[in-house]
């Protein structure tokens, strides 16, 4: 690869061809353009005229220069110039590229990939075999070298992992023989570095590249004194200010920034947020930083549940330690928000759980049951009052039916020792909790034996009697502790097990989380996992992991960081372990550490130069044509070329109605028609509107303006009173936006007269092409149910008394909005009392516009019927038009009863 300053050439010897350019200059210069032979009758007039200039004898200098530049550009282009070539020390032998590919690589992943790509490009040019090793995602067998090209193909698929590389058997993994190593490090110190370095150093030179930017990460968030502390970790020396964002869903469920805090790297970011906001936080992240390490997911640890404590009225005032709620309050106070008061008040505060301690009867059981069914958690504790109040009846607010009376063991009046607890069953939510030996039960309430008792028991005594039972109610749960909440019946409330059990019931969230004891016993299933860039993805087919493994935090492909859940509980497994300290990697003296300098990327210039040469040659074609006088003949070609070169500029879209037109339409009543695209039909429509306008002007107080063709796509339809829409068999369908406008128009009281112009000879809309087209056109319209026009429709009397609605054809097939089903014919009235409003559509096929159409002098344009009868028919058609417009303009005013006597008289009743 030859290099000339910042430009290097793939095949520099091609540049020698530039030396031939001067020769070409002389050759081209001597050649005049070939003359054009042309027959011309006027040549007799030309004889004797002399040319004034003789320049065209030789190729003009500018054309020559053009060709030289084009040729030069082509030669240089084929030589393969590259701007800012990647200049690397070229070694020999195979090259191993090891990439940490951990979360710490994510922010500078593009740089890492770019560096690897450059190394592979150099290796390819030097013909070195290469191999790629992602240390966080080790291959199964021994690595082997391939061509640099093949390796480079796999590079874009490589992504950083949300965990860090670990120890491995490097000797078994690394290829045989000597090779050079390029280690793309993420810059963090970790134990495996020494081992890997020891494995590769004896095999060849080792070069390390690591990004210059410090690695930043978020530690585990902690809730301390109502504020959330998020440690901001960095391996850099300088403490820069960073912004930490708390994100979570807003009440509408949309993910938003819930808080932003600026903190120094190495310090804690303190979020002092109201509990409402804090409970919604799902993750913390460093603003503008990618990578799984810059994300800290939150789980139940940050949430403080609202728990409503309800106890029976305290008859024994002052006996605080004996109060049924004392131990509950003690257990829940550090981790939950406790509400106390009457049950009715507390249900309004939307608690997460309600605890009834020794309450026999609830004041409003339906309401409480309803609350539970909607997802509430009701925990009840037995007690003397409850035992006394038991009736043996089924209670929806108890998980099992209880026997009346209680049971006492180990007391003075009974034989046998107090009972201890049986180990928790594996499917119990308490599975895995360690039973303290000192927990004994002296009294309990007993369940009636029933088939579902066993399945509802989640904790039992050693004799098998249930201690805790649970049943689903709707979407919620009802849990019953068969002992009291104070130390009267058992020592359970005195033990740590009590708190753990409450925690397992998702009541309280413990502070000592992720301990083995906490997590053990349950199988945790990943719900969503983090990828290397810090985005949460569905976990897919990841298997469940045991709590012990989860607690051990050995992150890897089998245990990616993310959100894990078991039953009601959810645990966030974050990339950064609690207490992790980030330290910069330190490299021994024998290792070359490459500075991370952002080099401008190599820019191949070949394409641009060849395109330039081609463009110049095109110009040369035009120039040659111009010089030899053929340009005129080639004008068509030139125009075509120019069109091809010009970007296609679409005409401005007409979306707005012309204001002058809008003014004209709004100022008067304007009869408008919808153009069909068929000129003959449109002409008739326009003439018909003119004819009807003239009749309206002459006979009524309506003075319409000149008719218009409405443009459904751009016109503001609200300004139009009435649209005449002739339907042709091949009418174009309006756009969806046009349909939306038409629907708005119809809802706003407009009227469309659809006219299929086919005399409806085949019955309404069934057989003619126009009828079918009308169905297709009108399908997207909001058209109410229709009916054939009834004899008492207001259209029959809105101006003239009509029973027929002929146009150029006579047919009864005119359809209007159906009358409401409850319209009734009152006694003695000729008309039904119909609904108000104007029918939004009138549909028929009588070709009204043709009957109305007049020419410029006001004479009818088309014949209607025969002779006098035909003229009568035309007159009735006009009357129908007048009635229609009157109906549009006055609504159902003629439907009133005001005119009934006169109408009765005229009807001859």
């Amino acid at each position: 690869m030859g290099a000339l300053g910042a430009i290097s050439f793939a095949s520099p010897w091609l540049l020698a061809a530039l030396a031939a350019l001067p020769v070409l200059w002389f050759l081209l210069r001597a050649m005049p353009p070939a003359p054009l032979r042309r027959r011309f009758a006027g040549v007799a007039l030309l004889l004797g005229l002399a040319d004034r200039e003789v320049q065209a004898e030789r190729t003009p200098w500018w054309l020559l220069l053009l060709r030289m530049v084009a040729l030069g550009a082509a030669i240089v282009g084929f030589a393969g110039p590259v701007l800012n070539p990647a200049s690397q020390a070229v070694g020999a032998g195979p090259l191993l590229i090891a990439i940490d590919a951990s979360w710490a690589d994510a922010p500078s992943w593009a740089r890492v990939q770019d560096r690897a790509a450059r190394a592979l490009e150099v290796a390819r040019a030097a013909g070195r075999p290469a191999a790629l090793l992602a240390l966080s995602d080790l291959p199964g067998g021994q690595l082997s070298f391939g061509t640099a090209d093949a390796v480079a193909e796999g590079l874009p698929g490589l992504a950083p992992r949300p965990w860090e590389p670990g120890e491995a058997d490097w000797a078994a993994l690394l290829p045989e023989g000597r090779f050079d190593t390029l280690w793309l490090s993420d810059g963090l110190a970790r134990a495996m570095r020494a081992g890997f370095l020891a494995a590769v150093e004896p095999r060849g030179t080792v070069t390390v590249f690591q990004p210059a930017a410090p690695v930043l990460a978020l530690g585990a968030p902690q809730l301390l004194d109502g504020a959330v502390k998020v440690p901001l970790l960095s391996n850099g020396a300088e403490a820069s200010e960073l912004e930490v964002v708390a994100r979570g869903p807003d009440p509408a469920g949309i993910e938003r920034d819930l808080g932003r805090v600026t903190a120094l790297a190495g310090a804690d970011a303190d979020f002092a947020l109201p509990a409402e906001l804090r409970n919604r936080i799902t993750r913390f992240e460093i603003a503008g930083q990618r990578g799984a390490g810059a994300v800290a997911l939150t789980d139940d640890a940050l949430k403080r549940r609202k728990v409503a404590l309800v106890a029976a009225g305290s008859a024994r005032e002052g006996l605080e330690l004996l109060a049924p709620t004392h131990y509950l309050r003690q257990a829940l106070a550090p981790s939950a928000e406790i509400l106390e008061g009457t049950l009715e008040d507390m249900l309004l505060a939307a608690p997460d759980a309600v605890i009834l301690a020794d309450v026999a009867q609830v004041a409003d059981p339906e309401r409480l049951a309803d609350w539970v069914a909607r997802g509430g958690l009701l925990i009840r504790f037995a007690g003397p009052r409850m035992a006394a109040g038991l009736t043996g009846q089924d209670d929806p607010l108890l998980p099992v039916r209880l026997r009346a009376g209680g049971r006492e063991v180990g007391g003075t009046m009974s034989w046998g020792a107090p009972r201890t607890l049986a180990p928790f069953a594996p499917d119990s939510p308490f599975a895995g909790l360690v039973l303290p030996a000192e927990v004994v039960v002296r009294a309990q309430v007993l369940a009636e034996p029933s088939p579902e008792l066993a399945s509802r028991t989640i904790a039992s005594l050693e004799d098998g009697t249930p201690l805790v039972t649970r049943a689903a109610l709707g979407e919620g749960w009802v849990v019953l502790f068969h002992v009291s909440a104070n130390a009267e019946w058992s020592s359970l409330p005195l033990s740590g097990l009590f708190v753990q059990m409450l925690e397992r019931l998702a009541l309280a969230s413990g502070t000592a989380r992720e301990g083995v004891a906490d997590l053990a016993g349950a199988t945790w299933v990943a719900e969503r996992v983090l990828d290397g860039f810090g985005a949460l993805r569905p976990a897919g087919a990841l298997g469940g992991v045991s709590g012990e493994k989860l607690a051990a935090r050995e992150l890897g492909a089998a245990l990616p960081p993310g959100l894990y859940s078991a039953g009601e509980r959810q645990v966030a497994l974050n990339t950064i372990a609690p207490g992790r300290v980030l330290e910069g990697a330190v490299w021994p003296a024998g290792v070359t550490v490459e500075a991370d300098v952002q080099a401008p990327p190599p820019l191949p210039l070949q394409g641009a130069l060849l395109a330039l040469a081609l463009g110049l040659l095109l110009v040369d074609v035009l120039g040659t044509l111009a010089v030899s006088g053929r340009l005129r003949a080639a004008r068509g070609v030139a125009v075509l070329l120019a069109l091809l070169l010009l970007p296609f500029a679409p005409g401005p879209a007409r979306a707005e109605m012309d204001p002058a037109r809008a003014l004209a339409v709004a100022g008067e009543v304007v009869l408008a028609y919808v153009p069909t695209g068929d000129d003959a039909v449109d002409r008739i429509s326009a003439a018909g509107m003119v004819g009807l306008s003239q009749v309206l002007y002459a006979r009524t107080s309506v003075e319409p303006g000149p008719p218009l063709a409405v443009d459904l796509e751009t016109d503001d339809l609200a300004l139009f009173t009435f649209l005449y829409w002739p339907v042709t068999a091949d009418a174009a369908v309006p756009s969806p936006t046009a349909y939306a406008r038409i629907n708005r128009y119809l809802r706003g009281g407009g009227m469309i007269l659809f006219d299929t112009r086919d005399a409806d000879f085949a019955g309404f809309g069934t057989a003619t092409p126009e009828g079918r087209r009308l169905q297709a056109l009108a399908a997207p319209l909001d058209i109410p149910p229709l009916e054939p026009i009834p004899a008492d429709h207001v259209l029959t009397r809105s101006f003239y008394l009509l029973q027929d609605f002929p146009g150029r054809f006579v047919g009864r097939g005119v359809w209007v909005e159906a009358a409401p089903p409850d319209a009734e014919l009152a006694e003695g009235m000729p008309f039904r009392n119909l609904n108000d409003g104007v029918t939004p559509v009138v549909i028929g096929g009588n070709d009204w516009a043709a009957a109305w159409a007049v020419d410029g002098s006001g004479a009818p344009l088309l014949p209607v019927g025969r002779g006098q009868t035909g003229e009568r028919q035309r007159e009735i058609a006009y009357r129908f038009g007048v009635n229609l417009l009157m109906h549009v303009l006055t609504g159902n005013y003629k439907s009133d009863q005001v005119h009934v006597p006169a109408l009765l008289e005229r009807l001859g009743q």
Partner: protein, 294 residues
Amino acid sequence: MSIAPAQTLRREAEALAAPLPPLLVAAEQLAASVQMGAHGRRRAGAGDEFWQFRAAAAGDALRSIDWRRSARSDAQYVREREWQAAQSIYLWVDGAASMQYSGAAARGSKATRARLLALALAVLMVRSGEKVGLLAPPSPPRPGRAQLLHLASLLAAPQDAGADYGAPAAEGLAPHARALMLSDFLGDPGAVEAALAAAAQRGVKGVLMQVLDPDEEAFPYDGRVIFESMGGSLRYETRAAGDLRLRYRERLAARRDLLAGLARAAGWQFGTHHTGQPAATALLWAFAALERGR
């Protein structure tokens, strides 16, 4: 001789002439060349049609008195007839090679247009009863629609495009007739001058109509061009054709001035028609020029 091209030419000519009224060619030399024609002149004279009765005056020949009319009253009446006269019109259409030129494929050649104009004028004349003939190939003037067919076949016949430029012939011209000459007049103006002189000697008046292609007017050429005449006899090479444009136009204008001067001197009229324009305008102009005879 094939009939089809002649019929096509005639059909087109009839279509072109259809909108115009019959042509009335003013005949100035009444006395000399009075021949009975088909149409009246709206004045008393020699003819077949009755025009009016008038009281006999001194000098009227006895045999001119209409006895039947005179017997109904005491005075003598003379029956006058409407004067009817026909004019002879000669057409000359340049058939030389230069007339075959057409600047664009969409336009017909100048010869096509010239023949069409000539025949359309003949249609108009025949319709008004005049006699039409051809100068070359010689065909004496005759009235009637049969003559049209004859003229059409003569005009549509393939011309021997021997010469590059045509020269008008004045040999067959009858005295005091009218003539219409259609050519591009790009050849030797001397021939035109001689023909006009001969025609003027015989008292013939007429119209010179120059038919040109628009390209011959605009000269839209550039660069290095070798121009050849249509017959190939003339050749002219230029290196910068665009540079010649102005000078060519000057020469064309000078030629036109020369022709107009010649026509004026002989009592003729001169007009130019471009094949890019509708033929009807040229026909209208020729029609008016012949009818008015000015």
